[in-house]
């Protein structure tokens, strides 16, 4: 009898412990179940629950279940929904992992709620947010999301003539005689440079010009020298620069030295690097309707429009901000989540530190692009 009690007790305790671990999962379980807010689906008895449940399903790539949970699924196909969530073409979005979803109610009645939903994605190029206004409707005693579908952009059938302008480089071979001529590297020049002291450390801001007639692959390294002659740090611009520069093109750069104060710095040695590369002059991307906003959040907004016939899969917006004297006060950037299709504008927003917002008088923006070889539409 005691044995039976013990065995049954062990069984019950085991079941209870598993139930506890499932209903209130520990952090590591949440991480593997989809991270962020966890993946424990709740009864959608409130608009927030419906949003979170949708986020969990997207995070776990359970897109059919996510689609079936929508109130307006009859208005579009599951494929439309999949493509809206994961991106229509190879882009940052197709490689992104949804980390968390934050829902903020804008308006709510008994049967309907308007939510501002921030989807926080993690990508190989860093995190980025996608905010959508979503309506949640009540069906009986459960709430369902009315998904604001962004349809696949329709590019009108057209022929865009492209006379492929590109440079190819042939370097001298290793078997050539000593002293034989080789092609010279591109002539690049730093046209502006300014160190800025901030709480996160010292930033070296500036602009680099390709002063040559050939395309260049560029980078800028900077060395901070202390007052005692010691090297305080040596860093490069990493991705805060457009590494590919066509002739007479200018790129901003920003180099960050964490844990250094400008008062420690006696001098800064700049090392612009450049090498000659094979390159194409395409694509051409227009940056339209750039508007600098001080309020409510300091930012630069605008649109990117691909003027070429090819799809730009990855785009990186780099903005230089100047004060009224034309001095560079900040360089900021933003990766674009979606691919740029020909003639189809895509919105962008570049954030600016609030403390610099009032100092900014003008800006200049460029776009760096990358399209993997062999990517088809």
């Amino acid at each position: 009898m005691r044995g039976a009690v013990l065995a049954i007790g062990i069984g019950i305790v085991t079941v209870v412990l598993v139930a506890i671990g499932t209903i209130w999962p520990i952090p590591s379980a949440i991480y593997f179940a989809g991270s962020g807010n966890g993946n424990v689906l709740r009864a959608p008895s409130a608009p927030e629950d419906a949003i979170q449940n949708l986020g969990i399903r997207i995070r776990l790539h359970q897109l059919p279940a996510a689609y079936n949970s929508l109130a307006n699924k009859a208005e579009f196909t599951e494929s439309d929904f999949d493509q809206d969530v994961t991106g229509f073409y190879t882009s940052l979005r197709t490689q992104a992992t949804l980390e968390s979803v934050d829902a903020q109610p804008l308006h709510q009645s008994d049967d309907q709620a308007d939510m501002r939903v921030r989807f926080h994605w993690i990508t190989v190029l860093g995190p980025y947010d996608d905010t959508r206004d979503i309506q949640v409707v009540r069906n009986g005693n459960r709430w369902q999301v009315d998904w604001p579908l962004v349809r696949r952009p329709s590019v009108p059938a057209q022929v865009i003539p492209v006379n492929y302008l590109r440079w190819d480089v042939i370097y001298s071979g290793s078997t050539d005689e000593w002293g034989s001529q080789n092609v010279a590297g591109p002539n690049v020049r730093i046209v502006d440079m300014r160190p800025v002291n901030r709480a996160e450390g010292v930033y070296v801001l500036g602009e680099l010009l390709n002063n040559d007639v050939v395309p260049a692959w560029v980078d800028v390294r900077a060395t901070l020298v202390g007052k005692d002659g010691n090297i305080l740090g040596r860093e490069d611009s990493f991705d805060m620069i457009s590494h590919r520069l066509l002739p007479k093109q200018v790129t901003p750069f920003r180099i960050h030295f964490p844990n250094v104060d400008l008062s420690q710095v006696a001098s800064i040695r700049m090392h612009p690097e450049s090498i000659l590369i094979s390159a194409s002059a395409d694509p051409v991307v227009e940056i339209l309707n750039q508007k600098y906003n001080v309020q409510p959040i300091a930012s630069l907004t605008g649109q990117l429009s691909d003027q070429s016939g090819q799809t730009v899969n990855f785009a990186h917006v780099l903005s230089t901000f100047y004060d009224s004297n034309g001095n560079v006060v900040w360089v900021s950037d933003r990766y674009i989540g979606r691919a740029l299709l020909p003639q189809s504008p895509v919105d962008f927003t570049v954030a600016v530190p609030e403390d610099l917002a009032r100092k900014i008088s003008s800006e200049r923006t460029i776009v760096a692009t990358y399209s993997p070889k062999g990517v088809e539409l």
Binding site: N163, L165, W167, E177, W178, G179, Q181, N182, V183, A184, V191, L209, N210, N211, D212, V213, V214, P215, L246, P247, K248, Q249, V250, A281, V284, V285, E286, I287, L288, N289, Q290, K291, Y292, G302, Q307, R364, T365, I366
Partner: protein
């Protein structure tokens, strides 16, 4: 006597010291011979002996009949530098030094021309450096005349003649006012070497554009872009169009194609359109939609 010679002599003397007391042997070495040339070494004494010659990268040993001249054929000694000769008959020896110099006839020249590409009309922008070598790849250190000739596709060519010092001759040249490939030739004796210098246009000059309506957009187009010498700026050079309006602006970087840059962009009425390339600014247009 150079330090090297002293050291060689001292070293050789040390090696041959057991025999130095006997002086019946002798040989008559030339002080200087050209690399690869034939020469003979008269000897005195009698009976068989050996002649050993040691130099930079070379060593040879010959059995000789003492009292007669030892002939060294052409091409036997070819590396320029100091050589040591040791004549020995087994019980006695004689040592001597001589120098092998590079042949006076250049066979190859290494020509370093920098840069491979530069803007037009640049004073002393091109440098040429020549190293002269004989047929055995010895650097010819004796002074030699070298001429440099820079001929552009248009305009007169430039010629300079210099004399090498310690085997090296160099000069500086100006780039031509017109763009194109220039042939940079170095001559020395019967040999020459050619390099190609790309003389490329400089910064755009008098950059200007026009704007015409094209549906809802404005078609912006530059005049053919040229530098201050009138050379067309190469295709691919980026021209930036900027339209500013109501606190907003639109920009686009457009590469030149066939000397002009053109783009269609939405520009509202009243906008100011400007054009620039690198650090060179062009004209501005107030867009009225016409």
């Amino acid at each position: 006597m150079s330090l090297v010679r002293c050291l060689l002599l001292a070293g050789s003397a040390l090696v041959a010291s057991p025999f130095l007391l006997a002086q019946s042997l002798s040989m008559n070495l030339p002080a200087r011979v050209a690399a690869g040339s034939a020469f003979s070494v008269p000897t005195s004494g009698s009976g068989p002996g050996t002649l050993t010659i040691v130099g930079p990268g070379q060593a040879l040993r010959r059995n000789v009949q003492l009292g007669s001249a030892v002939a060294l054929a052409a091409g036997v000694l070819y590396n320029a530098g100091e050589y040591v000769a040791i004549l020995s008959d087994g019980s006695d020896s004689q040592i001597g030094l001589f120098e092998v110099t590079a042949a006076q006839q250049p066979s190859t020249l290494s020509f370093l021309a920098e840069p491979s590409r530069l803007p037009v009309d640049l004073q002393n922008g091109i440098s040429g450096t020549v190293y002269l070598f004989d047929v055995y790849h010895n650097l010819i250190v004796s002074p030699m005349p070298v001429s440099f000739d820079l001929s552009a596709s248009s305009g007169p060519s430039q010629t300079r003649t210099v004399t090498t010092r310690y085997g090296v001759g160099w000069t500086r040249m100006n780039s031509a006012p017109k763009e194109g490939s220039a042939h940079f030739v170095a001559h020395a004796g019967d040999v020459s070497s050619t390099r190609v210098i790309d003389e490329v246009p400089g910064d755009p000059c008098n950059l200007s554009m026009t704007a015409t309506p094209d549906g809802v957009k404005a078609k912006l187009q530059t005049a053919p872009v040229r530098d201050c010498s009138g050379n067309p700026v190469p295709d691919g050079t980026v021209v930036t169009f900027t339209a500013s309006y109501n606190g907003m602006q639109s920009t686009v970087d457009v590469p030149l194609k066939k000397d002009i840059a053109q783009v269609e962009m939405p520009v509202p009425h009243g906008a100011t359109i400007s054009v620039a390339s690198g650090v060179v600014a062009g004209n501005q247009i107030r867009w009225s939609g016409q």
